[in-house]
């Protein structure tokens, strides 16, 4: 009962903010962003490791559906998503996967791609969205609505400023999480 009350209170408090800055407006801002290059640092916190695994590299995005993640450390790897085809290059190995094959993986990819290109429909297909903050500093939380996706990831938290994404956090079903910090290299 107390929780419900708190919920209503919280809802009341966030309502005015939503009127000023809502999902529709964020999506509009994001959709206007046509692409660019950024540096990233990704940390994976895993239960059986006593410190996170860190990787760094560059991200490139071209609207609406080309995304490339070039990991430089600890091992070079290039991950490229072109429409629904995911290709991975590591060492001498090349792998191409058509994600249409794997609805769960596609949903996972859409959480990132949908945020990048401001595709509200793609996001709402698989997630419940919650937005807080304002245009200068926003936090978008995605909660999987499908059981199959929830089995992989509990919650995705994207934060950013205007049309720039600053960080993405995946909280996995088993409690492990990964946090990616993004810093744009483009001069605006």
């Amino acid at each position: 009962m107390t929780r419900l009350f708190a919920g209503i209170l919280l809802l009341g408090l966030t309502l005015p903010a939503c009127a000023a800055f809502d999902v529709a407006q964020l999506m509009n801002d994001l959709a206007r962003h046509k692409g660019g290059t950024a540096k990233f640092v990704e940390k994976k916190y895993i239960a059986f490791l006593d410190r996170p695994v860190v990787s760094t590299g560059e991200l490139t995005y071209r609207a609406p559906d080309l995304l490339e993640k070039r990991t430089l450390t600890p091992k070079p790897e290039t991950l490229r998503l072109d429409k629904d085809v995911l290709s991975v290059e590591r060492d001498k190995q090349k792998l191409r996967i058509n994600l249409a094959n794997q609805p769960e993986a596609l949903a996972f990819v859409d959480s990132l791609r949908g945020t990048l290109n401001g595709n509200r429909a793609a996001l709402e297909k698989n997630y419940l969205m919650n937005l807080s903050g304002n245009s200068e500093k926003w936090v978008l939380t995605l909660l999987p609505s499908e059981q199959k996706i929830a089995a992989l990831v509990q919650r995705i938290t994207v934060s950013g400023s205007r049309d720039q994404i600053r960080s993405i956090e995946y909280l996995q079903a088993d409690g492990d999480r990964s946090l990616m910090l993004i810093e744009s290299l483009d001069n605006e």
Binding site: F48, L49, D50, T71, P74, K75
Partner: protein, 774 residues
């Protein structure tokens, strides 16, 4: 009837009865062994084994078109669900994610016996440290979250090593969770039959089962607008057999009806008609008996050649009735039989040359025709007179002969124009000689271009690599073959590392030799040793030592477990891969290692493989190259045999005629006929292959009968001329019927010999030596 007459008749009856019993028990076949070499080289043997037993020959590609994506996917799942339960099928794949679970479970369970990285150094402190630190680095990769759950039990990453050496290739696209063509319009399945490629009956049953099950699942799901497409080598084999069966019946019926009609027109007597067909039927029977006794199996195409044999063999009874009807039997035996006998002998020379062919189909055709023609002639000479009696009423063919006479006289005016035409044909052929001959075995295939295109489209959609390049190693048992495959694998690993080849497959991937499994097992430390080493190895690692008990337990289990044997692979698709790459043969086993070569520079790549494996006893084979070589060997051999057959005919005629002039008079029309027919065929766009070549030999063999009559008798009387005209007509009908065939082998002989026989007669009439015409 005289005593010798009765004896001849009894002998004949007895032979026919025995023959019928043999034919009744003969095995008829319409499979590809017709085309496969009788005396294969080691490389060709691999090709033969692949075509008969190989995995590719047992593969059916299935597509579901129409309806919509979701429904196609549902049908694909339902169809797979039904087919996997049926004994006809060894495997059914449709890309459904769940179907790969059994494979992964097998690889994970046996990872320490399967992984090539398992060597003693791997489990030292340093080795563990390196392997584990690499595994942790991999957690940082994009696949990290997929690999993570396995790490505590597989910290050295053996499953990753295993998956890494599998050639990922290009897997088919997917729609609604199952394989689909790139355009998304067809759901795709791959089906492996239990029946081998050589078992056409089994393949036909399997294809039929897929169709029936599809109809059933579509009906159950209430989907009416979905269509099924099936392709693959065995679909072609089954279709080809059906075509040959249909053609044999159809062509024999057409040929027989037409010839019977001609004979009835000539004889106007059911009795003579029946008698006239006796030598033919005896000949056809004798042909099948001879082939059945010599080869054990009679090919459908051989029987299809029957129509031509009927047309040729019926000539003898026509000669007999027409020619002896006027002058009596004794006169016929004295005047005409020697000429006919010589004609039979030239035919025998022609067909006999084919007996020496290494192309089993050709050798059978030769034997069939040879025994058929010889029997028909013998029955005409020794049995027919007794059955027909001394006196039979024969319609007067004088008027027909008179008309033909006028025609031959008109023909003689065309001598010079014909020679000019022949000269033009020679020049034309000389200019075109580079473009005359097809150099590809596929010209003999009954597969229609549409079917071939549909097959290619399915293959592209499925990304089914054509395993054109193979390495084959042999051993006296399976273990020896696997060890040989592993030795060849080491050389191929180096080539892959240097980038010379993209990769290769080996049965040893999933079923290593017992020796290698034992060596890998011996690399594994005891649980206590491993625990101690891990403590040192993990000193600086983020990995918490206490989490690795699953790993220690799995290693301990593997140390106690028996070696992997083939039954352990049951229920996985990997088992099929192993079966496909291991062949048991009389006297040993072969392991096949398909090569993945870069698209460009295949010649260099294959040369590098040959060099790396030189002296190891491994065979490096280009299957397509072997097929082309095979055809070119056949073609080269057919050229030699045709020349030998021609030489034998010339020698026979030379010794009998004893005059170069007379010899030239017989040969000229035949050579001209061959020239004009070949030029005509090429001009009409026919792609010439080795059966056209054989047809050329047969023009000489068959046509010589007519040339001999003209040369011997000089100015022919009306009746003899009529008999030749009729005999020529039946021969042309017989061979010409084959020209209607869709079976390229029969078609080629038909379109060559049919016109060739007419031309031989016309030209023989045209070029009758002058002094005899005076």
């Amino acid at each position: 009837m005289t005593r010798p007459g009765r004896r001849a008749l009894l002998l004949w009856l007895l032979a026919m009865l025995t023959g019928s019993a043999i034919v009744w028990n003969s095995r008829f076949s319409a499979d590809m062994s017709f085309f496969l070499p009788a005396r294969p080289s080691a490389e060709q043997q691999v090709l033969v084994d692949q075509l008969k037993e190989g995995a590719v020959a047992r593969l059916l590609m299935v597509a579901i078109a129409g309806s919509n994506g979701e429904q196609r996917a549902a049908l694909s799942r339902d169809l797979r669900g039904r087919l996997v339960k049926m004994p006809e099928f060894a495997a059914v794949q449709n890309g459904d994610a769940g179907s790969l679970d059994a494979d992964r479970a097998f690889l994970f369970r046996h990872r320490y016996l399967l992984s090539p990285a398992v060597v003693p150094e791997r489990f030292t402190v340093d080795g563990l440290q390196t392997a584990i630190s690499e595994s942790i680095d991999r957690l940082a990769s994009s696949a990290g979250m997929l690999l993570k759950p396995m790490l505590p039990r597989d910290p050295t990453g053996e499953l990753f090593e295993l998956l890494a050496q599998l050639n990922p290739g290009t897997q088919p696209g997917s729609l609604a969770g199952v394989w689909a063509s790139p355009d998304g319009n067809r759901a795709l399945l791959l089906v492996q039959t239990r029946a081998t490629g050589a078992d056409t009956d089994g393949q036909e049953a399997a294809i039929q089962a897929i169709r029936e099950q599809f109809t059933a699942v579509a009906a159950a799901a209430g989907i009416a607008d979905a269509r099924l497409q099936i392709s693959g080598p065995s679909v072609f084999a089954v279709k080809s057999r059906a075509t040959i069966k249909r053609e044999v019946t159809r062509l024999s019926a057409i040929g027989t009806l037409a010839i019977v009609a001609v004979l009835f027109f000539v004889y106007r007597s059911p009795r003579l008609l029946t008698l006239g067909l006796l030598p033919v039927l005896s000949g056809a029977l004798a042909g099948i008996i001879a082939v059945s006794l010599a080869y054990g199996t009679v090919f459908g195409i051989t029987v299809g050649f029957g129509s031509a044999l009927i047309g040729e063999a019926v000539d003898y009874s026509i000669y007999y009735f027409v020619q002896s009807g006027r002058g009596g039997v004794a006169a016929w035996k004295a005047h005409f039989w020697p000429t006919i006998r010589l004609g039979v002998l030239t035919s025998v020379c022609g067909f006999g040359a084919l007996l020496f062919s290494g192309f089993p189909g050709l050798a059978q055709l030769g034997l069939y025709a040879l025994s058929g023609v010889a029997t028909a002639a013998l029955v005409t000479r020794f049995v027919l007179p007794h059955l027909a009696g001394e006196h039979f009423v024969m319609r007067d063919l004088g008027p027909l002969g008179a008309t033909l006479k006028v025609a031959t006289q008109l023909l003689r005016r065309l001598r010079w124009p014909t020679l000019a035409l022949a000269l033009a044909a020679t020049a034309y052929l000389a200019v075109e000689h580079e473009r005359l001959w097809s150099t590809n075995l596929s010209v003999l295939s009954t597969t229609s271009p549409e079917d071939a295109a549909a097959d290619k489209a399915l293959r592209t959609d499925l990304g089914t690599a054509d395993s054109r390049f193979l390495v084959v190693v042999n051993g006296h048992d399976r273990e020896a073959a696997l060890q040989a495959a592993e030795r060849a694998g080491l050389a191929l690993d180096d080539l892959q590392a240097s980038g010379a080849i993209d990769g290769y497959d080996s049965p040893g991937r999933f079923l290593p030799s017992r020796a290698l499994q034992a060596a890998r097992r011996a690399s594994l430390p005891t649980a206590d040793e491993l625990r101690t080493r891990l403590q040192t190895a993990l000193a600086d690692s983020p990995l918490i030592t206490g989490k690795l008990e699953g790993f220690i337990a799995d290693v301990a289990t593997t140390r106690q477990a028996p070696e992997i044997d083939r039954p352990d692979l049951d229920g996985t698709d990997l088992g099929l891969a192993v079966d496909a790459l291991l062949l048991q043969r009389p006297g040993g086993w072969s392991a096949i290692l398909p090569l993945h070569l870069p698209d460009k520079g295949q010649v260099n790549a294959i040369a590098a493989v040959r060099q790396a494996l030189a002296g190891s006893g491994a065979l490096t084979i280009d299957l397509k190259g072997e097929l082309d070589t095979l055809y070119n060997d056949y073609l080269r051999e057919a050229v030699l045999l045709s020349l030998a057959g021609f030489a034998a005919i010339v020698a026979l005629l030379a010794t009998t005629l004893r005059s170069p002039r007379r010899l030239a008079a017989v040969l000229l029309p035949l050579v001209l006929a061959v020239l004009l027919v070949v030029a005509g065929l090429h001009l009409s766009g026919e792609h010439l292959h080795l059966l056209h070549l054989v047809g050329m030999l047969l023009i000489v063999a068959v046509g010589s009968n007519y040339a001999l009559f003209f040369e011997r008798a000089g100015e022919l009387d009306h009746t003899t001329l009529a008999s030749m005209g009729i005999a020529n007509l039946t021969t042309t009908i017989g061979f010409g019927t084959l020209g209607l065939s869709q079976v390229p082998m029969l078609h080629a002989i038909g379109v060559t010999v049919g016109p060739g026989a007419i031309l031989a007669l016309l030209l023989a009439a045209m070029f009758v030596p002058r002094e005899t015409t005076a």
